[in-house]
Amino acid sequence: MLEKRIIVCLDVRDGRTTKGIRFKGNVDIGDPVAMARTYYEGGVDELVFYDITASSERRSVMLDVVEEVARQIFVPFSVGGGIATLEQMRNVLLAGAEKVSVNSQAVRNPQIIDQGAAAFGNQCVVLGMDVQADDAMPSGYRVVIDGGRTPTERDALQWAHEATARGAGEIVLNSIDADGTTNGYDCRVTGIISRAVSVPVVASGGAGTPQHVAEVLSEGYADAALVASMVHYGTYSVADIKRHLQCVGIPVRLDGIP
């Protein structure tokens, strides 16, 4: 039986891991490679690195991080953040990532999804979507880009359909309202999107307890859950989350977990 994945997200700025609340006030919390190694040894199923480096000249720092992670961590990982061209996608994949995540640039130029899927396969192209509750939109959720700063005219559900039709092989769905609050995922929007598309949906934003993770994997129909704050600050370990999921009957990979 396919297991639900627990994915740890690391926001990387200039080669260091940071964490903010609702995309703001980021603080330094460590070396991404060392953190990735610790999570790998602790039984994480997958890792996501978001490059939030401000200046484009520092992009090579991120590729160094990706190469180092690839040498030490033998679970899948994806990289996102500011990726706008096929060349940037190729660089990230050649540095050792399994998948690349496109977000704002895919909204501006949706063809990057078609091009990436054609060049590297659908399984390599992840659509990152930041959404905000908005009653003016048909699905009740609006797509917001540029790290939560720029609202678009796109409806979340319509964009999920379009992006998967273009070849996105997975969706990481982040609720801006919930991000970093540790008050729980937005199970409603996760369910709306996950039940409508044929590709896996990763829930993101708001995890504070193992119960929140269980909720989004069951009531939110998510295929995987992304966690950050709750594990970065040592409140819970990946093992704590997985043991809870096992307790409530959600299938997870327990290999290597005490």
Partner: protein, 203 residues
């Protein structure tokens, strides 16, 4: 120990390379039959389209080289797409494949609640004793990303099964040729153990 890795433009070979390097193997990634035929072990990894992969293999003479290598008796391991193109054919664009193991690759049927591709960690249950699974518990999880799966004509070719709506062959073998549908190079410590078993097996 020199491991030849077949380069046929099928996806990213980097993760296979780094996993083998971490296990201390010497790697030769090549699209040249002569280079590959000289190696002590042969791996053909890959993601992507079966028909496209076969076209590239044929254009480089790699289809004959792989068959020749298999006949030599040295251990061969296929990964992911590599577990499908060892069969006679694939439903993916009606590809005619290498024909090293009787059977065909089938597509998962879209069923209620089942997303395709089958992506993520799933349990692998060996159905026969095989050196690849030495030291790996029954039901250990491995990482999968695929829409097609191998269906050998002879059930004796199946060495492990996995359940995704349907029970399918997640590992197959014939003599010195074995192939896994999952990605051992991305399957944590047990994945590395499987690759180590492949490297250390003395035929």
């Amino acid at each position: 120990m020199r491991v030849g890795v077949v380069d046929y433009d099928a996806g990213n070979l980097r993760s296979v390379e780094t996993a083998l390097l971490a296990l201390g193997a010497q790697i030769v990634i090549s699209h040249l039959p002569d280079q590959l035929l000289k190696s002590d072990r042969l791996i053909f990894p890959g993601v992507g389209d079966a028909a496209a992969a076969m076209r590239v293999l044929k254009s480089r003479g790699l289809d004959r080289a792989i068959a020749q290598y298999v006949r030599s008796g040295r251990p061969v391991l296929g990964i992911c797409l590599g577990s499908q193109i060892v069969l006679d054919s694939s439903e993916e664009n009606d590809a005619v494949c290498l024909g090293l193991i009787a059977g065909s690759a089938r597509r998962f049927a879209a069923a209620d609640g089942l997303k395709i591709p089958h992506m993520g960690w799933n349990q692998v249950e060996p159905t026969a004793s095989h050196y690849l699974f030495n030291g790996i518990p029954t039901g250990a999880s491995f990482y999968f990303v695929h829409s097609y799966f191998p269906q050998p004509g002879d059930s004796a070719a199946v060495i492990a099964e996995t359940d995704y709506g349907v029970r399918f062959a997640s590992a197959v073998c014939r003599d010195n040729l074995s192939a896994v549908q999952f990605h051992p190079e991305k399957s944590g410590p047990y994945g590395l153990q499987l690759l180590r078993n492949f490297l250390e097996h003395a035929p």
